[in-house]
Amino acid sequence: MTAMRRALPFAMDRYLLLPLGACIALLWANTAPAGYFVVADRLSFAVNEVGMTLFFALMTREVLEATSPDGPLHTWRRVMLGVAAAVGGVVGAVASYITYLHLGDEGSVLLRGWPIVCATDIAFAYCVARTVCSPAALPFLLLVGIISDAIGMAVLMIRVPAGDVHASGAALVIMSITSAIVMRRCEVRSFWPYLIGPGSLSWSGLFLSGLHPALALVPVVVLLPRTARVRGFMVDAPARARDPLSCFYRAMKAPGHGVLFLFGIVNAGVVLKGAGTGTWAVALAAGVGKPAGILIAVALAVAAGLRLPRHVGWRDMIVVALSASTGFTFALFFATVTFGVGPVLNETKLGALLSVDASLVTIAVARLLRVGRFAEPRAPGATVPRRYRRAYSTLPPTIV
């Protein structure tokens, strides 16, 4: 029990519960598929449409913190290069996905799946990049990931309605936002009323609007009052912080990771024998198209007058571009939204899982290019590689 208590925070901090769930699902789906698919089908709605609201709520909090004053992504100057890189990454990934399909001379059903390759698993990519990249490059990676996912999400919401569209859905969403604003004005200090009232309204509204209800808590989290600042990504709020957003993060972090574990179980169980065109198209787009697109876009932006982030060189940029190509959770989610049960979903999910390999490539390339932790040997007693010492000293301590 004590070991479990120690292991759980360790696994959560390193984002390991989702990969664990994914491994269990893979093993299960390939040894006892009938049992697995029955369980996955029964849990699918509860996990994907309800539980994942928590994950996206927690991710929203991270974005809020990163883009607030003092946050690493604050100010448009820092944002511009990231926007260019993200757009370049998306264009590169989508172009290579579509090109690969057309090389097979077919305009098959897979063409519908291009938003899948927009995905970047920001948490997973961050965890990998944190161990190898220059810390100065991490905010840039975050920004690229967030914008890529936002593009993919927006496209999916428009192109793939989750259900029949009812006009009452929009009214419920407006009611949800209005009630959250009223609660904020009335200085409601607990996050629970926000979740139960506006959260439920938002979920119902999105569901009735034909939009994916997993995003229901995004507007609610944006409106949660906050006073405490955290510096960094996936960092706990200070223990003394009592504002609703900090309390929400503390209370929901463990359930959120539990949901991710279940998400892995429900969505990552693919039959390995079912690899096909979709698998290779997604994997190629993630592994080649996206990093190439990011690097080309950054080169063009720099040529147009923008500057690389401070203390980030081209070698760091290559590693960041590779890190951003891991689609994993988001790619699985996008695939599930795009395709119904069947072999095409299986194929594309397999490609999404393969995109995790990008993390191994990232580490290998970082080592090859002597970037981040693989930079020149440290001076005796130093805790930070010499060439990054200045970068570390200028960043918030929690990012370091």
């Binding site: 698919f37 059903v109 069947g342």
Partner: protein, 275 residues
């Protein structure tokens, strides 16, 4: 509900009058445009001359490779010209190699829908898009199955719920979703392709499953017989001819050379396990 209205009812009225039985041919994975597809089509025309079909059902992968107008001529209109000229109508399901836009191709009679249903006398056909069984399609198939009062209910789609094909095999994720509905609403027979062989599966919960994905493509020797296998043929291209009269469904699987490689009768009856 709008979706249901749009997709549910494509009524077939082309059946020749004066006949009480329903005869149709089944082809899957046919659209290669190569010589063997043409030869099989000739064999179909020869059989049709003796036992006129009401229709041909296509199990998907109807057009392989490039899907330009010329390809529809080379891979569909030309090989099946004798049948088309004889007034035989084709009803297609989409496969993983088919472009979704092919549902608008008139000779496929899909009414512009990915999934649809039609009836010939006392036989109702339910055509699914097994590439992506989204929640709307699941809701739709349950609704139309529940509403059907026809004597015979036949489902067809591309990916097999049961198959001993070595390349693909059973699509278990689809099976856990569809089989309970098929059992609940008394589906009698299910046809699929995808594996490029012919196989008849022993009845599963009262339903007979056919894999007939060798009307153009063939994966010779790919079939690994198991306890599920009732009959199988993986040495040449093949198609199936089905005749339904009263409570009996008679089928023959016929090879490219005209050899009958499997035949039998399926009786429509109640299902003891549902009690």
């Amino acid at each position: 509900m709008r979706v249901l209205i749009a997709t549910a009812v494509v009524v077939l009225t082309a059946a020749p009058p004066g006949r009480s039985s329903v005869t149709f041919a089944v082809i899957g994975d046919s659209g290669t445009g190569d010589r063997v597809q043409y030869e099989l089509a000739q064999q179909m025309a020869a059989v049709q001359a003796r036992r006129p079909f009401d229709l041909v059902i296509m199990l998907g992968d109807n057009i392989y490779g490039r899907q330009q107008p010329g390809d529809f001529v080379q891979k569909f209109e030309r090989p099946y010209k004798p049948l088309l000229d004889a007034g035989v109508r084709f009803y297609a399901a989409l496969g993983n190699h088919d472009n979704e836009r092919n549902r608008f191709y008139r000779p496929f009679n899909m009414g512009g829908e990915r999934y649809y249903t039609f009836a010939v006398r006392n036989v109702r056909f339910f055509v699914l898009d097994s590439d992506s069984l989204d929640p709307k399609q699941r809701e739709w198939i349950e609704t139309v199955l529940a509403a059907s009062t026809d004597d015979w209910k036949i489902c067809y789609f591309h990916h097999p719920l049961y198959s001993d094909g070595g390349r693909h095999g059973s699509q278990v994720d689809l099976r856990v979703v569809l089989e309970p509905l098929f059992v609940k609403y008394d589906v009698n027979v299910v046809f699929s392709g995808h594996d490029h062989v012919y196989e008849r599966i022993k009845p599963q919960k009262g339903i007979t499953y056919f894999v007939a994905g060798s009307a153009g493509q063939l994966r010779k020797g790919d079939l690994h017989r198991s306890d599920l296998t009732a009959a199988a043929f993986d040495q040449d291209q093949a198609f199936v001819v089905v005749d339904i009269a009263g409570d009996e469904l008679t089928f023959e699987a016929i090879s490219r050379t005209g050899q009958v490689v499997d035949s039998g009768v399926i009786h429509r009856e109640g299902r003891p396990w549902k009690q």
